[in-house]
Symmetry: C2
């Protein structure tokens, strides 16, 4: 039997612990069991010194210098670590930008009248993006403008003579100059990925520093992909506004057809959200008095939460636990962070796992190929698959944990600026900047990244946030991080009252009340999914431009206490290049390259201003971020 | 001391053995020592079941089912193997196509008058390529035509609505239909790489078969990259014609400034070849009566051999041995297959290692950044660096092995067709096809791929070729394979006399004499570098079109007995997709996925006609290829 201590080691969420007990009783395997079965983990892999980039290996470098100190080709530990890191950045960039490219195609089809299920829902955002890209807006219809924006987006993937537009137009002028100076300006997203894959191949780049700079170049392409993903989703589905909803597995309904939307891209899930109510009657006829109940998982969940207030069931490492409730009738997935184990769980269960994208199939799943041209029909077919499955749901096997947290999400950049404008209509950033200057707000921390099976779920996020909030740090969150805060009630006014330092509390209260929320803003502002880290970057860029300093001077930091994916590595790298002290709470596979590790955590500061802080203890991590904020404040003379 | 048996295990080349003895005496480390120091190799890595695609691992699958059978996320051994294979294909494609893109830029600069050192040297090839691409040729100047071809080339990297032109226009119509049917048509080279990196990321594609099909799609982009690399190099530097030269380390000169050209892309090395004689006097003044002596290593060596008759010093696994002669004054490298250990060897030595490409630096090397705009100047600066280094060459340390083999290389598709045209001017392919039909030639085998430290250098190539030649198989070769045959005297008329079966000998003699060579064609036809596998594909496509059958019906096979790089994996995959039985003599990291291994070696035959033959014993491999040829002949009723 799973002891309390072991449960605590796995997750600090009560609903999660309940499901883990159930899994244990029913002898169903979860990610934690499989992780334990992998122990002892390969030390070479953990250190990053295992190279499989040709068939003369695999090679590995002995960290104690007692065994092999070089790969067969002569690659050093530093070279191998830098190459592996580069490939991770390339993969992360490919994922984010694949998502963005998908939306660019959707936007183009929308503008060309080929996808009637995708009207332009946010014309103001479209115009704003077009303006930023230097596309003239006055002489064009909305369709023409959408077409122009979509074309610039698609052009950003190809190598060209000019920088990637979505990278160059979304940072400070100072950053642009720094990137040019160090030769890290990407001129195409796909081409940057390709170049990095080339230079990390056998017998190409062997210089660890040169490889790292190649990684930065690709990571800036990742930034572009993230930002494009955010912009285009807003144009197509609306820019998020504050919205109230609920989180935890308690959002599943005993009497509803529960359909979980999982993955990352809103292109299908938003349409499902739009049509779900049309099938309520069918669900009721099938015996579900509450009709169709959509819930979100991972960043697809964040997207539908931000725009439709759809409750968030869970995120990332605990995705299997949603299925273990026995109450999920269909789980619809697009791509990224979807555990293959869901296929097996679905097979042992009444749940239909439905894959929808040609590039992401899973053994054990039903595949319903999604296209924009027939989005509503596909969405309905998927929901009907859930209704059908509901009929074979076994009530005896259903165990929905009671936990439900309320939350306010939907804090896009526009929503934050909108709230600040209620305080100062003419100069919305002024209240924020004044309060940073006067010390009510000491700094800003963006919490991002995943959950990781190595860290008790949410523990890193929650303990760091409480510590920083007490020290008057304004907290932003995206992705699984935002989900963690939702699950633990930190996206509420009550949390601000309970955990905010006096200065922070005063500011959040003033803004919240001015914005008509009848109370303070939430302790943490949920900015969206993991591509939406771009929203947080926008806030920082706006503040920097307003202050007339570059990003690397601001008391702004980032943290991914439970990072997992290659996407997180790409994001962390562009955060550092953007000038942010960036905390990672899981040791990335770089320690086998002493030079690489030193560059990433120290020497890179002299180049970009930002640097990595690797610290697995959340309290120490929070201290280090506070120190970084203090140093920055000192630099600004505030 | 290295025993004779150990030397034989390392290489069958006599010059190589001499240098290995020297390395041993001087306690200098080579790739074989470092390979041995890596033993025992990680079995998980060898089986392909080690996954490091997120920070919840590394995970590994126990091949005996006794330990972990799934990764933490639930990925099976098959999923992990297919993902890793996909990433290797992506990297290989990135390398070949990076090379091709580089040449496309060079061609564009040439056409725009920005790179006067790059005139169009082969207008007929330019017109032929343009024709094939559907670019009208009559209405354009050479510059305009070059610009149009370069633009189509560059467009091939970006995602678009039509198939990659360099893939679609270079295969049979039957192949195009098969590729469309199975959804593996790439619509952009960089975008195919990016898509494969996305689908192999954490939580995306988990279906091994779907992943493999994604790999095929990317491999077809690799085919396009290879073919483009060949076409554009021919346009810029001339299409190779038969040329006589020499091979082995004996091509280095005691009394010359020896400059080794190493890597893959002729963009710099061809210019060095053009200007070298201009610096002969400077070399003589520095004390080298033989002036500047250029020699080639790896595929840069193949490129300069094919077009300038520059001797080939060595290839791939033995690159360090060239430096160990103490007689190489400068080694100039571009990218791919360049061992980082050269940096260390150069530092212990008078040799200047000179890196020239921004994406490929090496600790211990001098970096001279190369651009097309100043190509001749850079080329001269590099040669002068060699002349300077020559002055500090220590004659006491010089040990140049005496071996030198003569060879005839330069068999581009055009050269082969040209030779056949001497037999039948109106229908050049007829003599080849007639002889295949009448059995004088049983089939065709393309030898490609690298040398690999796991195989005694050249042993796989040489023994297989002798066996197949005796059975009247026409032999083509590229890359390190062609180098192996050069080193062992198989690129000669004498070898045809000695090792050819009667039928083959008769055909090679008839064609050779008709072509005015005063003897048979060489036993093996050297078609060029590893991108030039595209040339061999062209021959097969021409024969298939002439016969009115698809590629998967021809008695044509491929073999990479000593494959090493990810590029070789990409090439092998497109060879299989093209319909060829494709032998690999090194076990690729796929055995940990039983389904994947079965698909690649068996089930894929039902889809594409081609399949992998994994066989480490050269004699058995040759038998299996002969069987495949027999089966194909039976299928054709010949």
């Amino acid at each position: 039997m799973l002891m309390r201590e072991e449960l605590q080691k796995r997750t600090i969420t009560e609903d999660g612990q309940l499901m883990l007990r159930k899994a244990d009783q029913e002898q169903l395997e979860t990610v934690w069991d499989r992780f334990n079965a992998q122990a002892p983990h390969c030390g070479f892999g953990e250190l990053g010194t295992c190279c499989r980039n040709c068939m003369q290996g695999p090679c590995r470098i002995d960290p104690f210098g007692e065994g092999a100190t070089l790969g067969a080709c002569g690659a050093s530990g530093d070279t191998i670590v830098a190459r592996n890191l580069g490939r991770a950045i390339a993969a992360g960039t490919a994922a984010h930008s694949g998502h963005a490219k998908h939306l660019a195609h959707t936007l183009l089809k929308s503008a060309e009248g080929k996808a009637p299920d995708y009207p332009i829902r946010d014309e103001a955002k479209l115009k704003g993006v077009a303006d930023r890209l230097g596309i003239s807006t006055n002489d064009k219809s909305i369709e023409e403008l959408a077409k122009a924006v979509a074309r610039v987006a698609l052009e950003d993937f190809s190598e060209k003579e000019t920088p990637v537009a979505w990278a160059a137009t979304n940072v400070t002028q100072g950053r642009v100059e720094t990137f040019i100076k160090h030769g890290v300006v990407p001129t195409g997203i796909d081409s940057a990925i390709s170049e990095l894959m080339h230079r990390t191949a056998y017998g190409v780049d062997a210089d660890p520093i040169n490889l790292l700079m190649g990684g930065v170049k690709c990571a800036l392409a990742d930034f572009a992909g993230c930002h494009m993903g955010t912009d285009l989703a807003d144009i197509l589905f609306g820019t998020p506004k504050p919205v109230t909803s609920t989180a935890n597995l308690g959002v599943l309904k005993t009497d509803g057809v529960n359909i979980a939307l999982h993955g990352h891209n809103p292109v299908l899930s938003d349409v499902i959200a739009q049509v779900a109510s049309e099938l309520d009657e069918e669900a009721k006829r099938a015996g579900a008095p509450e009709g169709v109940n959509l819930v979100g998982i991972c960043c697809t969940g964040n997207e539908t939460l931000m725009r439709h207030g759809i409750p968030s069931a869970t995120h990332s490492v605990s995705q299997e636990l949603a299925m273990l409730t026995g109450a999920v009738d269909a789980m619809v997935v697009d791509y990224q962070c979807i555990m293959p184990s869901l296929g097996t769980l679905a097979e042992c269960n009444h749940t239909k796992l439905i894959t929808t994208m040609s590039i992401a199939k899973i053994p054990g799943a039903d595949h319903i190929e999604f296209t924009e041209e027939n989005a509503r029909e596909t969405a309905k077919e998927i929901i009907r698959r859930g209704i059908e499955a509901f009929k074979s749901r076994d009530p005896k096997k259903v165990n929905i944990p009671p936990q439900q947290s309320t939350m306010v999400a939907g804090f896009s950049t526009e929503a934050i600026v909108g709230a600040l404008a209620k305080v100062d209509k003419d100069d919305p950033l002024k209240p924020l900047i004044d309060n940073i200057v006067n010390g009510n707000i000491q700094g800003v921390c963006l919490f991002a990244g995943c959950n990781n099976v190595r860290v008790s779920q949410d523990s890193g996020f929650v303990s760091m946030a409480k510590k920083l909030a007490k020290e008057n740090v304004l907290l932003l969150a995206t992705g699984c991080g935002a989900g963690a805060f939702a699950r633990h009630g930190l996206l509420t006014s009550e949390a601000t009252q309970e955990f905010g330092g006096d200065g922070l509390k005063a500011v959040l209260t003033a803004v919240g009340e001015a914005a008509g929320l009848n109370g303070p803003l939430p302790l943490v502002l949920h900015m969206g999914s993991c591509v939406d880290n771009a929203r947080a970057a926008d806030v920082a860029v706006a503040v920097a431009n307003k202050l007339g300093v570059d990003l690397d001077k601001l008391p702004v930091v980032a943290s991914a206490p439970e990072a997992t994916t290659e996407k997180a590595i790409a994001i962390g790298t562009w955060a550092v290049a953007a000038g942010l002290p960036t905390h990672v709470g899981v040791v990335p596979p770089v320690l086998g390259g002493a030079t690489v590790a030193k560059v990433l955590t120290d020497e890179v500061k002299a180049i970009f201003g930002g640097y990595f802080i690797v610290e697995t203890d959340p309290m120490s991590a929070a201290e280090k971020l506070l120190e970084a904020i203090k140093e920055r404040r000192k630099g600004l003379g505030i």
